[in-house]
Symmetry: D2
Subunit: 384 residues, 4 copies
């Protein structure tokens, strides 16, 4: 029997940790062949060298697509999608995958999805059916309307995909592949924290004392407000007096606003207990989530991995709007005082018990097994 | 009060007749300003010079976007969308519309929709919520998931949009603007048939005798089968012995297959009672639909305008799959004998009574009025 | 020793016959590996299926690049070059050629040249140093300024390249590879004319009687005048009363004007002794040049192959402006009466003696040998 | 009489200071209308906000073109040119300039030049005819072969353009517009140094004591060596013990290498007497050149402005290869010890007498006057 070729597109460091366990399972499956395309910020040094990480993890990269137009405005975000759409069809024509597996809801996902579906290649989609803020909310559901095979991460998400008119037998609740990694790292006693603090800049963090993590990304639908938004967060963090790790934002429209906010804060000398990282190895990040006094910002990791790990989380603003979350999350507005109060509450509470909302650590294998055996129809038909 | 700027993107001759009455109403509305972008096949001579038509109708064209990559394959269809996505943001940055009004479900609609929504410009969408075959089925529902204001053409479509999770107060059942034109043309006694047969090639048609119309477009999800498909149709038409008007296909992937099929048929000398048009003025086309013994192929006009006019229609294959239709339509497979039998049945039946499924002729005014007064939230939130 | 990888880009049917003999020689050379990229009009059915021809001739096509934006205006010609420039670097990154061999002076040549030279890949260029009209004149010399290895086709051209500041040891006068093909076809007694007249449309040509060939392409720097220009030619041809083969124009800006001129002429019933071809196999074309009473238009083949074959040629307008030609050519303006008089003169003169201006039939082998042994410096230095 | 529309494309901060005096003269000329397009790094915050500077100087920006693809590799440099080539024709179609005035030899210049010349718009070119290293050497001469009006900055350059086959009456030796600015700033007594050291990062510079300036850009034809190259320079600078201003590199392929070299040097704590600027206002930069003990690196400003000002310069490597320079320049290889020795020699020598090699401060007015009255032929003809 001919092996099915499964092509994974990785467009960012977040993408990679969201699909890594599925990639391993596909690579190890006797009836599947794994093809890997790296694109967008995954290729760029300034967002942390994902390319090298992927190669170090033993994956062969079949194609690279430079597609990020400089500017980080809503307009360049659209143009970058366009550049992807010009290059990806040539790549799909060459690789001829049976299925293109695409992750989540970032803007470049739209390029992968359109290229594949216009070319009558089956699209498989992870993390569909969830709800959130930003343009991601629209992208995610639009990808669902193009996708032929759905791999939602939660029961809630599965039900939403079915309501969107997808046929029940194309929707497979598998859990989130990111939780697979989390489970492995958390359960692996030999995993030690090996952060090289030289990788970032700023004050040294003493990991034996309590520390905060800040991870705040732009909200594309609130473009232009990022600098003020991050400022509120950083002020609240400083007010706690606790040492903190600050992560640079992803490459969405508005990233430059947030970066500027961080730079100014630092240049004003306000960042005395803070250490800044461009990127962290996933395993380090998960272990930090396992130890931190509180994760603050708007990263989906707080909601998703946080539920499983039990990390105390202060989730700010609309980016994770209505995404299903566990007891570990306190939501706040972009307001220093609110954020500060929530931080204090979480610091006092400490770690929460683990919840299985986003999976049990076995999503990757389920995805590979389903991809090896499922059938689909290229012509989609809405169920109502 | 500042006037709202409504920007209409027209990507093909079909697009234009689908939105013309709304454009007139917007242009005449005291609180609205009309902006017009022409793109894709609307700019190209070989698909009939839509550009000149639009200017003749009294509209100013603000921007032109060449975006069709030659090839007419699924891959160039994706790349063309990408080229549109590179250019449209620059144009939107310049025009700064309040709302981008986009039509239907063609591949270039995706470029307009993504560019506008990524840039936080409200997207209004006509003809959403319907069902059909080809990639259009996925495009249409994906556009719905990006759109902020919905203008479905039928009750059935309205309900489907609400089921897709759109908030009820963003969905306005207005009817189809194409029906507005149809009503005007049909009701206008002075409208005479002024087809210049010199515009096309082939045998002269005697419009005082019964004649057929063939309008068959590629089905992207059945790419590569077009030549055989049109052959079956043309054979069936020839078998009736009736004179026929043949329209060239649109620019979707697979158009070249259908064109080749038509050319070969003609070069073999089989097209003796046939006249070939690249394009017809809308008013002529509607009057021909009002007089023809039967319209055969897979054009949506058979379903939509056909219901209102009462045109006998033989609808072939999957392109209009499950789209709501009236009693005037007989569905068949791509099979000469089936098509022939349906043709004979329709010729014998003659004209059907008018049905209002797709509107009452007042959609354009409703659209302009709603656009002048409605509010919307850029951050979309699914209703379940 | 590692084999040198030589990558040939073919963008049109004319490109292919201009480089075919070099491709054969490279393929057969023990120290060279041939890589082939097809792009632009070479991929398109409507310009004659070059892709199939190349495969039939035994070459493997490594990459295909759809890059022609529809419109055939000066503006789309520039945009098409841009699309090529987006895709070609990805392709060169994958193929990693040592040398990119590019042909002549068409607009897409600029894309190949820029992509390769920006990426520090050596550029080898055939047919540089000649003079002509249209934008080709600028493109040709600009490519020379980027190229590292020059293969001019004539002594005259070689001297011009040296004057342009190229170092003498990078300029190799090899003759024109198109003449290699001509020599082979002309000398090969068994070559019979096997034109399938069914491939084109129009009247049948009786090849035992005298016939004319018309091959007229757009002049980009005279954009908008093509319809009138071809009209003058066709009228002059008709006036001779001689049967004629008419070739459709290439894809430069303005092609649609010329095509429209041809179509109208035909639809007015003026084309009674004319047969129209989209494309001809090279061997047929050469044999027709060997038999025709006169070749009329502005094709470079009249100048180049014509000198070797001795074909009587009427060369119209500025397209071949100042290109070195033999005694076989009469130059005229775009004027029916002038063209007619020149036609009559050439018909009466008959065939001319062969001249070796553009080579002796051994260019391909010379190119392959030089490519296998030459050295170059990526950093170019002008000689004065 | 209709005013001539002159469209200037500005792609970087260097571009702007190279053309500013001509822009002023064009804007003030009664027969000329100035159009301004900003593109490439001129739009990007991270290269210093040129956009705001231009607006502050009183120019209206007509169009903005985001065209830099992230990556800063040779491959993205080619792709960025392609993106420019897709957008610029639309812009030229809208602005309809009579002349496009383009500056120098950066990769985006090629996009402007090709778009304009393919569209039969006259191209005027400043700074042609010079010699240097990197791909700029090829770009500069290729642009000359497309340009219709030449504005060389030196006699040497003028002669080279004529040798390249350009007709003598199209070549106007006007001097370099950058020198116009330099003359004005140097001669203007009231000009005070108003550098806000807060704009950059690092140690404070005491401008009353001797200081060095480092300005080193990537050499595209030596891609991959930048980190090592800048290291040698920085070590030599440190060895002098003198305080130094370090400028970040431009956006050419390889910029990331140099930036990384600088960052590492700083993070190792070696940058104790150094201050880092992303960008400097031209007037500050010129005044710094007027005061510095020595300018070191490979910036063309050392050669060009340096000759006029008399700045001691250590010019490293091949970037300015063979460009005509004055007595103020010492050339060295990328070698710490060589650079150090040259630095010591220049520091000891002090300021040099002014030389007029690149103009007398009146280039801008000459350019405007010539543009208002000159004629040209769109069809270029090489002079030999």
């Amino acid at each position: 029997m001919k092996m099915r070729k499964i092509c994974v597109f990785i467009g960012s460091r977040a993408n990679y940790s969201s699909i890594k366990s599925a990639m391993i399972a596909i690579q190890n499956h006797p009836d599947l062949e794994l093809l890997v395309i790296l694109g967008a910020s995954a290729l760029l040094d300034r967002y942390g060298s994902v390319a090298e990480l992927i190669k170090k993890d033993g994956f062969k990269v079949d194609e690279e697509v430079f597609m990020l137009l400089e500017g980080e405005t809503p307009s360049t975000m659209a143009k970058s999608t366009g550049i992807g759409l010009i290059e990806l069809p040539t790549i799909f024509d060459r690789l001829r995958p049976d299925v293109v597996l695409t992750v989540g809801d970032r803007f470049e996902t739209m390029a992968t999805t359109l290229a594949a579906s216009y070319m009558n290649i089956a699209v498989a989609h992870t993390m569909g059916g969830e709800v959130s803020g930003t343009i991601d909310e629209s992208i995610r559901h639009a990808v669902t309307k193009f996708a032929h095979i759905h791999f939602p991460a939660s029961q809630d998400a599965k039900e939403r995909i079915v309501k969107l008119g997808e046929s029940l037998d194309s929707v497979h609740m598998v859990g989130c592949p990111r939780i697979d990694l989390v489970a492995e790292i958390i359960n692996n006693a030999s995993n030690e924290l090996n952060i090289l603090q030289d990788d970032g800049v700023g004050s040294k963090i003493d990991f034996d004392k309590p520390f905060l993590i800040v991870s705040q990304h732009p909200v594309t639908t609130e473009y232009g407000h990022g600098e003020k938004q991050i400022r509120e967060t950083l002020e609240a963090v400083r007010k706690t007096g606790m040492q903190a790790i600050i992560l640079w934002p992803n490459s969405d429209a508005g990233a430059e606003d947030i970066s500027r906010g961080i730079r100014k804060f630092r240049e004003e000398g306000c960042a005395q207990n803070m250490h800044f990282f461009k990127n962290l190895p996933v395993s380090d990040y998960i272990q930090l989530m396992n130890r931190t006094a509180c994760l603050v910002g708007n990263s989906s990791s707080g909601i998703r991995e946080g539920a499983f790990i039990g990390t105390p989380v202060v989730n700010i603003g609309n980016r994770q709007n209505r995404r299903q979350h566990g007891r570990n999350v306190i939501n706040t507005d972009y307001k220093c005082s609110e954020i500060y109060n929530a931080l204090i509450k979480q610091i006092e509470n400490g770690k929460y018990p683990s919840e299985n909302i986003y999976g049990d650590g076995n999503a990757g294998n389920r995805i590979a097994n389903i991809l090896s055996s499922c059938s689909w129809s290229i012509q989609k038909v809405i169920s109502y």
